[in-house]
């Protein structure tokens, strides 16, 4: 029993950063723009969040800075792909390398700095509930916020006028034009929103979870987030489940090793990626069906 609690609580605390990034990427892709620079936005967020928290002493200012930095990088992506119509994949990857360079250059002075970030706060009462308590209610404030933000985002995307415009931009952009709206404007907002979320996801790692900054500290989680969006079928609620699944797969290795299980850790390390492949195989058909049409054009162009 206890072991499942450990794995699941590790899954929630470890999956939250992926969840923020994947929620942001969901918004961006819903508008028809894929951002492979999500990893870069997370790096910008992780660095800016840590640096500003270190300089000002306020983790909240750090999160604001992270959101701004992630949003700024995504804005470059938006300018390149929406206004200049350049290749979305090339732009995203270029921005990732830009972020790697920038954060390495300015980040070296912040390695080893100490900050007062967001520590876990057990919610009185709720945290005493068996299983659910330690898994869900002994986390940090950014995790608690994500419990509200993910369903709220679902509501916005599927139940509001703004969400309708977003989905229309992704499904049949011409309809927006016909109705007198600007496709570009909607996509700019969506892409920058995606960057803001990814920035917060990055800062979650540096300001809340590990409370330290290292060059290239995201190590591929941004790409996991992009993959997650696909098999969550561009649905924020499914993103929650997917992020926790990934988080749990990542948590499995240390939990089992700490208990002295005779397992091969290299096999365990493969698990999150194996899981991705398996899910993509099983969900592949369905995911293709629910791909926003404008996004499919992007993929089709890349194929040709």
């Amino acid at each position: 029993m206890n072991i499942f609690v450990d794995i699941l609580s590790g899954g929630v605390s470890g999956g939250t950063s992926i969840m923020y990034a994947a929620l942001g990427e969901t918004v961006s892709e819903r508008s028809g723009v894929i951002n492979l620079g999500t990893e870069g936005c997370m790096l910008m967020g992780a660095f800016s969040g840590f640096a500003v928290t270190s300089l000002t002493g306020s983790p909240w200012l750090g999160i604001l800075a992270a959101a701004a930095a992630g949003g700024a990088l995504a804005l470059i992506h938006a300018i390149l792909v929406v206004t200049r119509k350049s290749n979305q994949f090339a732009s995203g990857l270029s921005l990732l390398f830009l972020a790697l360079g920038l954060t390495a250059l300015y980040g070296s002075g912040f390695v080893g700095q100490q900050i007062n970030g967001f520590d876990p706060i057990a919610i009185p009462g709720l945290s005493a509930i068996p299983i659910l308590g330690p898994v869900l209610f002994d986390q940090n404030i950014l995790t608690y916020l994500s419990y509200v933000i993910a369903p709220a985002l679902w509501f916005v995307i599927f139940r509001t006028r703004i969400g309708l415009m977003l989905r229309t931009a992704g499904e049949s952009a011409e309809v927006l034009t016909v109705n007198g709206y600007s496709i570009a404007k909607v996509r700019y907002i969506a892409v920058v929103t995606g960057g803001i979320f990814a920035g917060v996801g990055g800062a979650y790692l540096s300001v809340a979870y590990s409370q330290s900054w290292f060059e290239n500290m995201i190590v591929g989680r941004g790409f996991i987030a992009v993959a997650l969006v696909v098999f969550a079928a561009w649905d924020p609620l499914k993103v929650i489940g997917g992020a926790y699944l990934f988080g749990s797969a990542l948590a499995l290795s240390p939990v089992l090793q700490a208990r002295g299980y005779e397992i091969n850790q290299f096999a365990l390390d493969m698990l999150p990626f194996l899981l991705t492949l398996v899910l993509l195989v099983f969900l592949g058909r369905r995911a293709v069906d629910s791909t926003p049409a404008e996004l499919r054009k992007v993929f089709d162009n890349a194929r040709a």
Partner: protein, 394 residues
């Protein structure tokens, strides 16, 4: 329209290289080879006649750990040899890129190269084969085939597990739960040496002490490090140590939870004012300077550095030293450690003195024998001692 991403990539690449280049790197490619040619007459043999000394590091020079210690060593060399230009490059991957970076350093006048990461060995061997006039030394790995040690290559290292054994004593004395934790990257022999030495040190003062191990499969992944700390603490572990390149996430998380820390690579006691016990740290300057002096004098070939050079307490100079003690370490513990240090400094002494059992209870080192540093049994160690928990992945 297609130009834009390419421009972006170029800017990004430029920034990456700007971020990586060293502050001491001031040579220009046009002048360096001429200088090299003009001074070539000064001596002969690999390592002579150059105008520069190159160092490559696998990680950033500010990691509070392995790379920072090596970088500081390179700066000591720069200060000790003001006539030479010291070229440094951070973040050099353990693949063919290392070869290319070293090739670039040679073209800028370097005749002495330090490849400072374990995984740089292959690139170091390749560059040594391509340039017989360049002395190449590799830090931490081991060339097991004597024939592969050509006149211009060698490996060097300190006896890492000796201070780790001493720190294990401190951990064994301090633990209340008798559960120690060790977070490591990969099951390379050096790490296995350390884990075993740590447990043996702890056992020497506390037979009940066990060491739980967690591999992160990465030299620096803060998220995995934090998850490892959390998992160990949940199992009641109250002293955590590590073999990682970046160390501060683990130390900070351990301190925040009120558990005790044994450091590695650098003195990080400021990160854990309450829980710091002791640790192990590098002091590369004397060894680096001696290697450079030897090579510049044309005496590299046939020297102790033209081999798998290993130095430990018995030689009176281990570049890997014990870190200062934390506030809670008792005088009794300090006395015990100091006695163990004297013992290990005596001729023929070893951390791995039998009888030592492996995890299955089988005696691997019989009573009356010991494993000596530089032996293949230590350089290729692939088993955990009894008392270490966790499977060694192979």
């Amino acid at each position: 329209m297609r130009r834009i991403p390419i421009v972006g990539a170029a800017i990004a690449a430029a920034l990456i290289f700007a971020g990586c280049s060293s502050t001491t790197d001031t040579t220009t490619e046009s002048t360096a080879p001429t200088e090299a040619a003009s001074t070539a007459a000064a001596g002969s043999g690999p390592g002579t006649g150059g105008s520069a000394i190159g160092f490559i590091f696998v990680g950033p020079k500010t990691d509070y750990g392995y790379n920072q210690a090596a970088y500081e060593g390179s700066q000591a060399v720069a200060a000790a040899f003001p006539d030479m230009t010291v070229l440094t490059q951070e973040n050099v991957p353990e693949d063919d890129n290392a070869y290319r970076v070293m090739e670039g350093m040679i073209s800028r006048g370097a005749k002495i190269l330090f490849a400072t990461s374990y995984g740089h060995l292959q690139a170091a061997q390749k560059i040594a084969a391509a340039h017989p006039d360049v002395a190449v030394v590799q830090q931490g790995n081991y060339i097991s085939d004597p024939k592969a040690i050509t006149p211009n290559i060698g490996t060097y290292f300190g006896t890492v597990y000796e201070p780790v054994y001493l720190a294990g004593i401190a951990a064994g004395k301090a633990t209340k739960s008798n559960k120690l934790g060790y977070i490591y990257a990969f099951p390379i022999p050096q790490t296995v040496n350390n884990i075993n030495a740590f447990e043996l040190g702890a056992q020497s003062v506390n037979p009940k002490a066990t060491t739980s191990t967690i591999s992160t499969s990465s030299w620096c992944d803060p998220q995995k490090q934090k998850a490892a700390v959390d998992s160990l603490l949940k199992q009641g572990v109250d002293v955590i140590t590590q073999h990682q390149d970046c160390t501060d996430t683990i130390i900070k998380a351990t301190e925040a939870a009120g558990a005790m820390t044994v450091g590695y690579h650098a003195d990080a006691s400021s990160l854990a004012p309450k829980g710091w016990l002791t640790g192990s740290q590098w002091n590369w300057a004397p060894l680096y300077e001696d290697i450079v002096t030897t090579a510049l004098a044309g005496k590299f070939t046939g020297s102790e550095y033209n081999a798998n050079f290993r130095v430990g307490l018995q030689d009176g100079s281990n570049p890997f030293e014990q870190s200062p003690y934390g506030p809670t370490v008792t005088d009794d513990t300090k006395t015990t450690i100091s006695a163990a240090l004297d013992n290990l400094s005596s001729p023929g002494a070893s951390v791995f003195t039998g009888p030592i059992k492996d995890q299955s209870g089988k005696i691997v080192v019989p009573a009356g024998t010991s494993l000596q540093y530089g032996d293949p049994s230590i350089e290729g160690m692939n088993w955990f001692v009894e008392g270490v928990k966790g499977k060694l992945a192979q």
